[in-house]
Amino acid sequence: MSKKDLGLLILILVVGAVVAIINPRFLLPINLANTSNLIGLFGILAIGQAFVIITGGIELSVGSVVALLGVLFIDFIATRGMAWPVALPLILILGGMIGLAHGWLITRLKLQPFVVTLCGLLIYRGVARFYTADGTAGFAFGQNFPELEFLTAGRSWGVPNSFIALIVIAIVMWVVLHRSVFGRYLYAIGKNEEAAKYSGIRTGRVVMAAYVICGVLTALSAIYFAMYTRSISPASHGQFYELYAIAAAVLGGFSLRGGEGSLIGVILGTVLLQELQNLVNLLGIPSSLNFAVMGGVILIGVLVDQQWGVFRERRLMLEATRKGAAGAAAE
């Protein structure tokens, strides 16, 4: 765990302790379970985003994809009677295809990631709304899918299964990002794509793979969100989720210029954001201030992190100078 991640962890614990002192109900198992459920949902989303951000890209269409694929998933299993073990991989494949399309436009046709995914944001939401004719996709009364519901919204030993899914995904993705050849390529491309190309890396494929991973993880979280809300009005479902995901990554130490950030960081970023949401509700802060609190904390977090870095560097410099001076004096 890096110093940066440790700092974030401490911030999370301090905020948690303060909230727990003001309102001890914060620590009730039910509250922790509810919050960790949402951490699971948003965490999966944020990990996907992180893979794209590492390459120096950005994926703005996440919220719209959550809406579109959520609508499709519910429509498939609730209205069209598709078996969920068929629908689920189908949705994941669709997510992967969306990612592939983005990656293709970005790497082959050389469009800017911001532009491609901004258009995606607009298009997918439009399609989702058109698909339901602006109506709501949801389950009929009494329609149940016990196994699916257990997997997505159920709990094991009191822990939400969505959170367990996040942990599993995080471990796998940690290995991929920090230990594998592919992960190294991602960092290299994020730092300097040209130089990576000159080292014989097929950068196009690697970047495309990052978008596909993001697409699949987004699709997965779309299913989780759909099963959590059990109803989707495509006009608003998932709105701003891309911002949550990006904010989690940035809080977790990712640079939007690419090539920086750790998987633990993005998970901790998600935890902090959800803790803040929980705090606003639990402490009775007017919900109109919810956004302001979130924005304020991100800003302060990033600022402290940045200033801390500057401070440390200065100290190192000073030390080096002093040591050098001492050495010179001794000679």
Binding site: R184, A188, E194, I201, G204, T321
Partner: protein, 551 residues
Amino acid sequence: MWHEHDPEPKVRISEKWEPVFAGDHAQTRAHRLLSGMMNYSDASIGASTIAPFLSLEGVRKTYPGVVALDGFSMEVRPGEVIGLVGENGAGKSTLMKILGGVTTPDTGTITVDGVAHDGLTVEASIGSGIAFVHQELNLFENLDVAANIFFGREPLRAGPLKLVDRARLRALAAPLLKRVGANFSTDTPVSALSLAQQQMVEIAKALSIEARLVILDEPTSSLPLAETDKLLDVIKALKAEGISVIFISHRLHEVERVADRVVVLRDGMLAGTLPKSAINHDQMVKLMIGRMLKEREKAAESARPPGTVALSAKAIRTNAYPDRPVDLGVRHGEILGLAGLVGSGRTELARVLFGIEKSLGGALQLDGKDLVLGSAADAVANGIFLVPEDRKLTGILLDLSIAQNISLPNLPAHARRSLVSVRAEAATAEKQKSNLGIKAPSVATRTGTLSGGNQQKVVLAKWLAMNPKVMILDEPTRGIDIGAKAEIYGLMRALADAGVGVLMISSDMEEVIGVSDRIAVMHEGQISGILDKEQFSQENVLLLAVGKQPK
């Protein structure tokens, strides 16, 4: 879009040019000098009549883990040309950055016109008449040449909005371009210029500043001979106007030709100062690295006869000259030098051979078999490697460690079940570090903090750690010190002796003639001729470079 290529090359062959590389004779002379080794210092020439207008006193600059400058002092007098030499990482650029106000020293004082400062800002530096051509190019490719030359000092029209007087801007820029011998116009966008042409713009920019001191940090690193001559003339003209020049170069013969005084840096400290009379190649080398060089002669001799053709281009056409097909073959076991003037299309050819760019026509063959390259990855898979011209942009990843840079092209070999083994990576890197003599605290050091020469060695190391069939080196010794140069020549020769086909693109005449087994010369996108060892001469290369027949 690029500018029209002038059919009549505006290149004159300088008569004054004489080779410095003179083999044994120079060697013995150096030994003679060394025996009576004098350690020159400022005091020994203190009799100088003109008072310095700028002086540095006990300047020290440290970076984490590195002491770049260690209590350095020097002074600059009006109208003198100071040659500043030293190995890679000796601290030359750091020193200049301090004068240019880009960095501030930890300790020490800078005195300008009798006023002492702890450090300068960029504005203060410009304000006190210091013009600076950086080692790494600093142009804006979205602006045109004129805008770049007068950037930050635009002529204005009257009025509160500070509107740029564009007509005057162009009128002011045109003579400067002429002076540096540029063959492009003032409104060419910089994005359309080659690296060497950009360097000319940088020099024009330095000339445009009403300067008392012009700092040139390796301005000739990618300039071929003719342009270099122009620059040296410019320096002399500046001196005649009473302007001081600090000239940094690893091409010592250039320093020899223009410098009034040579300051030699070693490990951030003053190794010595040579007055005009004592300036010679071997003396400078001796002060720089503390010993004499022998490797170069060895490098020139081929240990084996050349083999079959390794990589050949058949009527390849590139983006730079879509109408000119190129035919060229590199043989196993030889070093094929590729010479030519600025913008003759050598880099473009190298990019096509390495698969970075698609050819517009023609075919490639590797060992007689047709080769289709879709990307650099294909080239690497076939054992064709490129050491690119622009190190900072394409050669290495400045933010990665030395070890990570070296293992990058061959990562799967350093991985088990596609998980990277840090240990294998470090082992490879350590081996290369000691083989090439890369100067760095450890292989985990960030490459960006290395000096230019050591960065270049890292680029080489990453390919040497694999098994090349054909190695293309585009200006391999650009910005590299004389010692390291010799080492790199040795490495190229070792590669060739091991049967690798080596294609060396170079603008350094001395290097082309001294190292190659054959020399191909490019002129406006085409091979105008290939010289065999017995035809080697500066004149022949230059004649071919301007499209004439050799003698």
